[in-house]
């Protein structure tokens, strides 16, 4: 990072006119959307922009603070979404109490027992591995433990799952959640993601950076596969809809006399009010996270992190436990992504595992961080808003462009239809182009690290 001369001298506080101007410009994009399209659209994009900014903050912690290359953001986001279901969906007592042929326990309890058995198997295998002296005996013992444990797990788990999934599969067919307020799911999402991050970090962090990338890429795919196939957990591809909201419903507002009396157009007013309430909630969380991140960044802990990032060898010579610090920041960053995932599922009021695409939920977040400025919390936030706005708006812009290009062509011509139909894919191209341009000409991003 030697090209400091190209950028203006950073202000001590980090809040300089250039940064304020950048934020104002991005704000203008949203205001412009409000005027040109509609305020409803602008707020929809803005709310997802807030969530994207939080995801970008999480990735920035891992990449910007510690140089960890995590390409499994999608998995952590999806775990957050799962938390929203597990915490806030209503429990399904019929599924919990379903009977199994020849079984004594209710199905729900047996599912949990099966999961416990699975965890115990892995624990036993690890214990066997660490306690026995190395040699053929140990290898055999570990294999035997794993095979026996797996067989037991399947014997207990499979019939229970079958029983649970058989309970009214069209509307439930899963164990349901705890029925608690959905706000509680947000920290839970962080905790779930942190747990997953701990497991990955323990195995892959000591190794080379590329291995962490592949490991996270893999775990993300596996998490999505689990969400899609384990119907007893969150209904799989049948989706969980109607997750309770932390804010009032539009219909309730529209039937509220005082509310209707206040506005000329109560329908539009109610949708905008709901979105504004969400925005307020999200802004509080984002502000808290930025404040915490900035505090951490400027603390001795933050300096230590950067020291480790910039030179691992000398940092460990100074007595810093590099692996433990990496694990710590990896868990923290993933937890933030999980939190954002839970918020997103709350905003959508549904968990749709099929919508989790790595390009959208992993690599787009990376574009946000790189474009905004890796190693700068404000940069990540700015990148989150800007790139999300572009991601949404490039599609109509691409369509507009295609309509302009194809205006001269004959109506119903094959090429014209194809070009118009493919306009949606312009956004991938644009994102790649933006990423490459920023990486080439302004590698430190819009708001560089101080």
């Amino acid at each position: 990072m030697s090209d400091t001369a190209a950028t203006p001298a950073p202000a001590a506080s980090g809040v300089n006119t250039r940064n304020i101007l950048l934020f104002a410009l991005v704000g203008l994009l949203f205001v412009g959307t409000g005027f040109v399209q509609s305020w409803n659209t602008a707020l929809t994009i803005f709310n997802m922009g807030l969530i994207s900014a939080i995801m970008a903050l999480g990735v920035n912690m891992q990449w910007g603070y510690a140089g960890l290359f995590n390409v499994g953001v999608m998995g952590f986001v999806a775990l957050g979404g799962l938390a929203a279901v597990l915490v806030s969906a209503n429990p399904v007592p019929e599924a919990w109490g379903a009977t199994i042929d020849g079984g004594a326990l209710p199905a729900g309890v047996q599912v949990l027992l099966g999961l416990l058995l699975g965890a115990a198997t892995i624990a036993a295998a690890i214990l066997t591995y660490t306690k026995l002296p190395s040699g053929l005996l140990r290898t055999l013992a570990v294999i035997v433990v794993l095979i026996v444990g797996f067989a037991l797990f399947r014997m207990v788990f499979d019939p229970a799952v079958e029983a649970v999934e058989a309970v009214d599969p069209a509307s439930t067919g899963f164990l349901g959640g705890l029925g608690l307020p959905v706000i509680l799911a947000w920290p839970m999402g962080g905790v779930l993601a942190a747990g997953a991050a701990w497991i990955i970090g323990k195995t892959a962090l000591g190794l080379r950076s590329d291995y962490l990338a592949i490991a996270t890429l893999g775990i993300a795919e596996i998490i999505i596969a689990i969400l899609k196939n384990e119907d007893w957990l969150a209904r799989g591809v049948k989706n969980v809809t109607g997750i309770p909201r932390p804010v009032p419903y539009e219909v309730d507002l529209q039937s509220n006399e005082t509310f209707v009396g206040m506005f000329a157009d109560p329908v539009t007013a109610s949708t905008i009010t709901v979105k504004l309430l969400y925005a307020a909630l999200f802004i509080v969380i984002l502000a808290a996270l930025i404040w915490l991140s900035e505090k951490a960044w400027n603390s001795p802990w933050g300096r230590m992190m950067r020291a480790i990032r910039d030179n691992e060898v000398s940092a460990s010579a100074m007595g810093k436990d590099v692996k433990a610090r990496h694990l710590q920041i990896f868990i923290l960053g993933s937890a933030v992504c999980g939190l954002a995932g839970a918020m997103m599922t709350t905003l959508d009021s549904q968990l749709v595992p099929g919508t989790y695409q790595p390009l959208r939920f992993t690599f787009l977040i990376w574009v946000m961080v790189i474009v905004g400025g890796s190693g700068n919390n404000w940069g990540a936030v700015l990148g989150g808003f800007l790139v999300w706005w572009l991601w949404v708006q490039v599609e109509p812009l691409g369509l507009l462009l295609m309509q302009g290009l194809t205006a001269g062509m004959a109506e119903g011509s094959w090429l014209r239809e194809h070009l118009l139909g493919s306009a949606a894919h312009m956004r991938l191209l644009t994102m790649g182009l933006i990423l490459l341009l920023v990486l080439r000409f302004s590698p430190r991003g819009l708001i560089p690290e101080r």
Partner: protein, 336 residues
């Protein structure tokens, strides 16, 4: 006890499909491992390179079919393959000029190359979806089977059939030719030797007068050929869908890492290891075990370790085990 039928069932559902899949993975992993060994970064755009090459080949196939040219019993795509390789090679060289060369000259850190490859991945993904769309495309034509299940049953009189599809046969033959050609090139030709020297020790290679630009150029051409071939073979065997190719990145990387990144022989070994485990773990062994047991007996369960939806978990699990116990891979790879 009926060993013959058990073996035929196993061959039909596990050994043949896994061999074909393994050959496809091996070709993909060879490309990844070559880029890693010579250009020294993990290329995340590799799956999309495969998709791009396949797309060009499909367009070529359609063109040939429209002109009435076919390859007799073999798929027409094989005639279009060289054109696909050529276009992909041009794209690779162009990408290197525009994107990667700058970072190479500036001696950027490997992870910067990886991030640049993410950008390339986005763009190529966009290009492929723009031209051919996101849908499934089947482009295999010609004879469907070398031996169909029915012919096999008639020939041998066994209860079980053994189907050997043309695409599987072609995959194995073409992959074999590719691998032999590649190893001949790397071990016997001057350029190949200079590539290996460059991979082993860049500074020493430069000192002994090896032209780095030429090495990089040849590497990209070989990678384009391997990726396109792997993609076309996979598409012929299954079907072409851009998103599937993107997802292939995981088993391909797993193969390359398991074999030892930067080690071509390891990549081939890793490809087959991953393919056989993926197919083996997700196959229901009920019938096979039934034949091995007493007559007129079938086990109750499906005897399937994992449902096929978790095939990614298999490559991942193997990857994890190898990383934990042998971090440089089965055959010694290199580390940046």
């Amino acid at each position: 006890m009926d060993f013959l039928n058990a073996f035929v069932t196993l061959a039909n559902f596990v050994i043949i499909p896994a061999t074909a899949y393994g050959a496809q993975l091996a070709l993909g992993a060879l490309g990844v491992t070559l880029i890693y060994g010579i250009l020294r970064f993990s290329n995340f755009a590799h799956g999309d390179t495969m998709a791009f090459g396949t797309m060009v080949t499909i367009f070529g196939t359609w063109g040939l079919q429209a002109a009435g040219i076919t390859f007799g019993p073999l798929p027409t795509a094989l005639i279009a393959l060289p054109a696909g390789i050529a276009v992909t090679a041009l794209l690779m060289i162009g990408t290197d000029r525009v994107v990667y060369r700058f970072y190479r000259e500036n001696k950027a850190k490997p992870v910067i190359f990886v991030i640049a490859s993410l950008g390339v991945m986005f763009i190529m993904n966009g290009i492929v979806r723009f031209f051919i769309g996101v849908d499934d495309q089947r482009f295999a034509d010609g004879e469907r089977f070398i031996i169909s299940a029915r012919t096999f049953r008639d020939l041998t009189g066994l209860d079980e059939g053994l189907a050997f599809r043309t695409t599987q046969g072609i995959t194995i033959v073409v992959a074999l030719i590719c691998v032999i050609a590649l190893f001949w090139f790397l071990n016997r030709t001057r350029t190949g030797k200079s590539m290996r020297a460059f991979s082993d020790n860049e500074d020493l290679a430069l000192l002994s007068g090896i032209n780095p630009d030429r090495v990089v150029l040849v590497t990209w051409i070989i990678v384009a050929a391997l990726a396109t071939t792997a993609g076309v073979l996979y598409g012929l065997d299954k079907s072409f869908k851009p998103f599937t190719y993107f997802q292939l990145l995981l088993p391909i990387f797993a193969s390359a890492i398991v074999g030892g990144l930067g080690n071509p022989l390891g990549a081939i070994l890793g490809g087959f290891l991953i393919a056989f485990s993926e197919v083996g773990v997700t196959y229901a062994f009920r019938k096979v075990v039934g034949y091995l047991g007493p007559a007129d007996w079938q086990p109750d369960g499906l005897l399937q370790l994992l449902s096929t939806d978790y095939k990614f978990a298999v490559s991942f699990g193997i990857l994890l085990i190898v990383l934990l116990f042998k971090p440089t891979g089965i055959m010694k790879g290199k580390s940046v």
